[in-house]
């Protein structure tokens, strides 16, 4: 596979790991948060933590769109799906995300709700065209990567004059969440955590570019390295972060130059700003209410807003008390610190959202046996 295999070369990986070990100052810790779930997945899949020196730690961040969706929004979607006239179109990862009382879209589907998994927003448009007597709603979630496809779909619905189509919008933004983590990292009761630098998201950055991160680098004195998803990309990014720390530099560097530019994808950004506007606040699982972190449809597209069309009531639901997803999403705890991990909570029977999506920290740990370290630690 071109542009993938060559970035998985074992020999180069060994050399990069050696470089990291040689350059990391043993007298200090290096704590880097990889914001994006794709990176969390790659770290577990390729065992990258095993080749890093013990003083270089990766903290898994909240960049998994399925994981940060609060249970209340899932309940709202289930309520919508249970209406007989509605066909709810969703991305596959959403089917098993737990709402309140263990409810999920999958269980709603078993009870007769018409929930359909789609690969792309274009499929949702097709379903709306084929079912003119039904109300087709697209359950839109995700960061800046999935937002432009939703915008394209809404404009397509307008062009095709679809009157039976709307969107339940849950799109969120990366920079406000990063800012929230940095601002709350010194709040004692949430568990104190110091972050020395960020591995910046790959695909989000193809859209927004590297410029939005410059604020963090300056304001919080934190280096940010935008990184590709392959193991060599990630090792190079970690090395770049180590070098920045050693040289007291706080810059935004772009390791993923083959796909990311400073300005990002202008056409996609235009699509976003044409169709969406900022919400005053939006609830994130694990972070709570984050100001100006979510999007809704602009007034001019209000007829496609499912929340208005179906007069949906905002629901707020507390997470399962034993579930540590919140602390894990903030990087305060690791999956193995959760009592439910691997006992009551597994990918087959997820209690918390971090176990649902393959990009969630818990699912990544489970799938690639990272929990063995934990068992060994317990045994010793």
């Amino acid at each position: 596979m071109k542009y993938a295999d060559e970035f998985r070369d074992k020999e180069i990986a060994v050399g990069l790991a050696k470089a990291i070990r040689a350059e990391a100052n043993k007298a200090r810790p290096y704590r880097f948060m990889e914001f994006c779930g794709g990176h969390t997945h790659a770290i577990s899949r390729y065992g990258l933590e095993d080749v890093l020196p013990t003083n270089v730690r990766m903290i898994h961040g909240p960049g998994c769109p399925v994981c940060v969706l609060p249970a209340g929004r899932i309940d709202m979607a289930i309520g919508l799906a249970m209406r007989p006239e509605v066909i709810l179109c969703v991305y596959g990862d959403l089917m098993r995300v737990p709402g309140s009382q263990g409810a999920s879209l999958l269980k709603a589907k078993a009870r007769g709700a018409d929930v359909r998994m789609v690969y792309s927003t274009i499929d949702a448009i097709r379903i709306a065209e084929e079912n003119s007597a039904r109300e087709v709603v697209f359950f839109a979630i995700g960061f800046e990567t999935t937002t432009p496809p939703t915008a394209v779909m809404i404009r397509m619905a307008e062009k095709k004059r679809l009157s039976n189509f709307s969107v339940f919008c849950n799109h969120v933004l990366t920079p406000p969440a990063m800012k929230n983590i940095l601002e709350s990292s010194d709040i004692g009761d949430k568990g104190q955590f110091e972050i020395d630098g960020f591995v910046g998201p790959a695909h989000v950055s193809t859209i927004i570019g590297t410029e939005p991160y410059e604020f963090f680098a300056k304001e919080f004195s934190k280096p940010v390295v935008i990184s590709g998803f392959e193991p060599l990309d990630m090792l190079q990014s970690i090395l770049m972060l180590v070098r920045q720390i050693n040289e007291h530099r706080y810059e935004v560097e772009n390791q993923y130059r083959r796909a990311v530019t400073r300005d990002g994808n202008l056409r996609a950004r235009e699509e976003i700003s044409d169709v969406f506007e900022l919400r005053d606040r939006f609830e994130w699982r694990g972070l709570g209410q984050v100001p100006y972190s979510g999007l809704r449809l602009k007034r001019s597209y209000a007829i496609y807003d499912a929340e208005l069309r179906f007069e949906m009531q905002e629901l707020c639901v507390a997470d399962n008390r034993a579930c540590e997803c919140g602390a894990i999403l903030r990087g305060v705890k690791k999956p193995v610190d959760c009592k439910l991990f691997g006992t009551l909570c597994t990918p087959e029977m997820p209690m918390g959202s971090c176990m649902v999506s393959s990009e969630g920290a818990c699912a990544a740990y489970w799938a690639y046996s990272r929990f063995r370290d934990h068992r060994q630690r317990r045994a010793s």
Binding site: K2, Y119, T206, F229, Q236, E271
Partner: protein, 78 residues
Amino acid sequence: MCLAIPAEVTKILPDEMAVVSMDGVSKEISIALIDDIAVGDYAIVHVGYALAKIDPEEARRTLDLLRELSTERQGAVQ
């Protein structure tokens, strides 16, 4: 959701659509978010949309740099 692999454009279709090959699997995707993409180009594809073209020149430079970084330390003390 974010796990995307590089896809090669094999055919341009009408209505801003294209056929891509992902590790041997053909898929129809939207190219509405990308300007001037051509057969033979590689793109990052996510939820059925091409998000960015992969710049072959930059990819080559990154690989060269990776090789350089990894051999700098050959023989370095573990």
